[in-house]
């Protein structure tokens, strides 16, 4: 589902690489946790996967899309296949919760009728039923992050990338968010989660890939947190 082959990313010419020959293979329906201290290169990796950045060298193939052959105007098509949850939620502050989710469907040309059917179901999955008409400002951090998850999964992506989705949340809300990610994974979505929350990693008991200084330090199944 996700294939990285000796991927490097250097921001400034001749500088220290943020990612150094990373190779990673993620199977469909896997749940992979990416751990590492700040600056280890987790976010750079996420940005490469959504093509916010271009790799300096190496090969990336996601869901059959070879990034070397991806033209700029095809980037939207790639991003529609991947659901992304951002650490800072990235919700639109002047739109309601319903609109924040529906707008991901509007841009792909789904009919208003379908949208009215789909959005409440997804809000139900993330336990936000009844909050359709609230504004993001009225919600707690955990609720906002769940809106962001709803928006990421509403198009039923094969892959969900969650970059520190619990970073701004207290432990209870963080765990709510993780439970939703597990639920989505059970429905058949490949999940790639970055976090540096030790407790979450230890409780999840999933495959853990540890990154340090732009390199993969370890890649273990059923693992616990260790840097």
């Amino acid at each position: 589902m996700i294939l990285l082959d000796r991927v490097s990313k250097t921001y400034s010419k001749g500088g220290k690489p943020s990612l150094d020959r990373i190779s990673l293979h993620v199977d469909p329906n896997e749940f992979v946790i990416l751990v590492g201290a700040s600056g280890a290169g987790k976010t750079t990796l996420m940005r490469l996967l959504t093509r916010e950045e271009r790799q300096t060298s190496g090969k990336i193939i996601i869901g059959g899309i070879d990034f070397d052959k991806l033209k700029d105007k095809e980037i939207p098509l790639l991003r529609r296949k991947i659901g992304v949850v951002f650490q800072d939620f990235k919700l639109l502050p002047n739109k309601t919760i319903f609109e924040n989710v529906s707008f991901a469907l509007e841009m792909v040309g789904m009919s208003s009728h379908e949208i009215r059917n789909t959005v409440p179901k997804v809000l139900d999955i993330v336990n936000l039923k009844g909050k359709e008409n609230s504004m993001p400002m009225e919600l707690s951090g955990g609720e906002r992050q769940r809106v962001a998850i709803a928006r990421a999964i509403v198009r039923q992506p094969k892959i969900l990338i969650a970059d520190e989705p619990t970073g701004n949340l207290d432990p209870k809300h963080a765990w709510d968010v993780i439970k939703i990610l597990e639920k989505i994974n059970r429905y058949g979505t490949t999940v790639l989660l970055t976090t540096h929350n030790q407790e979450i990693v230890n409780r999840l008991k999933r495959r853990v890939v540890t990154i340090k200084d732009g390199k993969i330090l370890s890649d273990r199944a059923n693992a616990s947190y260790k840097i």
């Binding site: 980037i75 951002f86 990235k90 841009m107």
Partner: protein, 315 residues
């Protein structure tokens, strides 16, 4: 993407553009205002241009060459002269007025001057039979002149022909002045069009700046460039259409105001009656022209603005 989805997307783009237009109204006012000025100048120029042309045509059609015949010229001689004149390429039309017709016209023209009429009647029709020649081209009278100055032809004439020569000079001056006005109008249109494009460009740029977070999020969620750009283009096309309608309204009410307040239907060279008639009879054409122009100005400026600031960039 299927056709139905494309249609839904197009509808959304238009809807979002209109919503943005309303939300941006304070920003949009400057853009609409300058566009109104531009389009009003365009419309005014078109109407005035046609009116001037009409006026010049009217004046030039009144220019002719009058040939005065001796009283002893027979009707047959007169008709021969007419048919000879008709064969000259420089002649547009020829008409023959007998002594009686000339007198009748003269009496009609001076009906109010009783003394003059009495004097003419006492003299027993002193007026000559006249041939009136309409030249095909005012600037090319030499052929007619040389024909009329042949000895065989001058022998038939009582007086030298009258050429309305001074009128031609006046017409030349008018034509010169209107050409100048047309040129000034043309440059004014260009300057204001450029200024409108710049202002709309700025407005859209500002709108893009105001919505940069939203645009960034849309990008990350996989919105296509068209889906992001579309509403901005729709928004500025709306400026153009609104400005077109306002410019039509302005000119329309200007004509209405002038026709109701001005007793005379003409201001010097400017025949307001005709201009107003031209405006009403070409209303739909002018409306379409204004809308088309507004749409083009709006679309072009927003396309440049969005092209520059919404480019897809990956490092």
């Amino acid at each position: 993407m299927s056709g139905k989805r494309q249609l839904i997307t197009l509808r959304r783009i238009v809807k979002n553009g209109l919503v943005n237009f309303i939300r941006n109204l304070s920003l949009a006012i400057a853009a609409v205002a300058i566009m109104v000025v531009t389009l009003t100048i365009v419309l005014f120029s078109v109407v005035i241009n046609d009116t001037f042309n009409h006026t010049i045509n009217q004046i030039t059609s009144k220019i002719d060459v009058s040939v005065y015949l001796n009283d002893n010229v027979t009707k047959a001689q007169g008709e021969k002269l007419v048919s000879e004149l008709k064969q000259l390429p420089a002649v547009a039309s020829v008409s023959y007025l007998s002594k009686d017709q000339v007198l009748k016209n003269y009496l009609q023209q001076n009906a109010s001057n009783k003394q003059l009429i009495l004097a003419v009647q006492e003299a027993g029709n002193p007026l000559p039979a006249t041939i009136i020649i309409k030249p095909a081209n005012l600037n090319n009278l030499s052929q007619i002149k040389s024909f009329l100055s042949k000895p065989s032809v001058t022998a038939l004439q009582s007086d030298p022909p009258s050429y309305s020569g001074q009128q031609k000079e006046a017409i030349d001056r008018i034509t010169h002045a209107t050409n100048l006005l047309q040129r000034i109008g043309f440059f004014a249109v260009i300057i204001f069009a450029v200024v409108s494009v710049l202002i709309i460009f700025n407005t859209i740029q500002m709108a893009i700046f105001n919505r940069r977070d939203e645009i960034h999020i849309m990008r990350l969620l996989g919105a296509g460039t068209g889906y992001i750009r579309g509403p901005f283009i729709v928004e500025s096309i709306t400026y153009g259409m609104l400005a077109a309608l306002i410019s039509i309204l302005i000119i329309n009410s200007a004509f209405q105001a002038s026709s109701s307040t001005l007793q005379a239907s003409s201001l010097g060279l400017l025949d307001i009656g005709y201009a107003s008639h031209f405006f009403t009879s070409h209303f739909w054409f002018l409306l379409l022209m204004q809308l088309g122009l507004g749409i083009v100005i709006g679309a072009v400026s927003s396309m440049i603005a969005t092209r520059r600031y919404l480019k897809f960039k990956t490092r």
